[in-house]
Symmetry: C2
Subunit: 240 residues, 2 copies
């Protein structure tokens, strides 16, 4: 484990426990290098990470300050969909899906383009829903290039495809390009999700890349609007 990650954990703990209060100034960078017996670069790396997690603001010439964050948002996961707590917890423990479709197809041009495939390429196509207490809580549409994954099993689609890939292929997912939209549920999706006609859904279109730059996964996931949200932190504002 890298040193800077340990220090991140330590300081994050201080903030969560309240040893560091909102608006408190952290020790100066130089002080921290001494306290942790590391170099300046390492501390800057730590500050980068704490900033990314939304815990501190850095003011050049002045200091690093603990953000006054609404405490409710403290433990919400970032950069992913969160559902209600009980559902999230349950899914993490026992991922379970009902698979509506599992085939090999020639994907349409949109998907082909996303995955950087040729016209004559094939992909696995999976349509499925995660379950919580017997109820579908999302609808997912997934494409995997046959060129990369020659064999994907139905049983993996019923639990975790990513786990199957980890165990059977020597590839490393690296990053994900996401597009979020609000859409109206189709009739079929309303049935599956047990929601009224015309309900709004939060759609996440996600293209996954391996660490050698190849796209390996195209995913469209749709979640009922009233049970889902997506949280993120960055330095870009909507135009105001």
């Amino acid at each position: 484990m890298a040193k800077y990650k340990d220090i991140v954990k330590d300081i994050e703990g201080c903030i969560r426990r309240g040893d560091l209060q909102p608006y408190d100034q952290l020790p100066t960078v130089v002080e921290m290098t001494k306290a942790y017996h590391v170099s300046r670069t390492t501390i800057e790396q730590v500050m980068d990470e704490l900033e990314k997690r939304g815990l501190v603001s850095r003011k050049r010439g002045s200091g690093v300050y603990v953000k006054k964050v609404a405490t409710q948002s403290f433990d919400k996961p970032l950069n992913t969909i969160s559902l209600t707590d009980d559902i999230d917890a349950n899914l993490a423990k026992h991922p379970s899906c009902t698979v509506h479709e599992f085939t090999v197809v020639k994907p349409d041009e949109h998907v082909r383009h996303e995955l950087g495939l040729h016209e004559f390429s094939f992909t696995f196509y999976i349509e499925r829903s995660h379950l919580h207490e017997g109820q579908a809580i999302d609808v997912q549409y997934l494409y995997y290039p046959v060129e990369i994954f020659r064999d994907i099993r139905l049983t993996s689609a019923e639990t975790s495809i990513r786990q199957w890939i980890d165990e059977n292929y020597d590839v490393t997912p690296d990053s994900f390009h996401k597009t979020l939209r609000a859409v109206t549920a189709s009739e079929r999706e309303c049935e599956i999700l047990g929601i009224p006609e015309g309900s709004p859904l939060l759609e996440v279109e996600q293209i996954g890349y391996l660490d050698d730059g190849r796209p390996f996964e195209s995913l469209v996931a749709r979640f009922p609007g009233d049970r889902s949200e997506y949280q993120t932190i960055d330095s870009d504002s909507l135009p105001v």
Copy 2:
């Protein structure tokens, strides 16, 4: 301008122009230190930035590779709402709003909590829509603490509040915590936006922080689902 930013621009240019093709390996980090006459740290900083922009993948022990990115997504702005191109371009040049409401209020508990205010605090409250060719294209609900901004003008709400703040207060916005949701447009919003009853909207709730850790802005913006999307890149996947 920091050196690493120049190098980022240079390499990004190479990728956009096609001098570096998808799946190409970049020169090794050591080679780049020589080519640009900088130290290793600087190059790593450059790679951090290129990775954040979704242009490259880094494979420890192997190399840095140009991602095969769907070219359409190349120039879309990240970490913000994008509308259709003509609207985006127009808004950037001539931001213009119709203000539906402009008052000072005691905000409800939710906003008070987001902004870290006391029960007896007041905020400016602004409700407005951006216009494109006379048509409203969003609805925004904004709160600004009177404690921080004693004076906000109606005219600023009709163009750019952030510009007004820049020019009249010595504060520096630092980061934004966002929550995205899909919601159904209210009757009033349908009227304002000229969309059918029950249309889905993409909602962005955004809390802005200053560089000293203070929240300074609470914004809820809602966009018609069929004209808006939000793009982002990170290393976190939805559960698959």
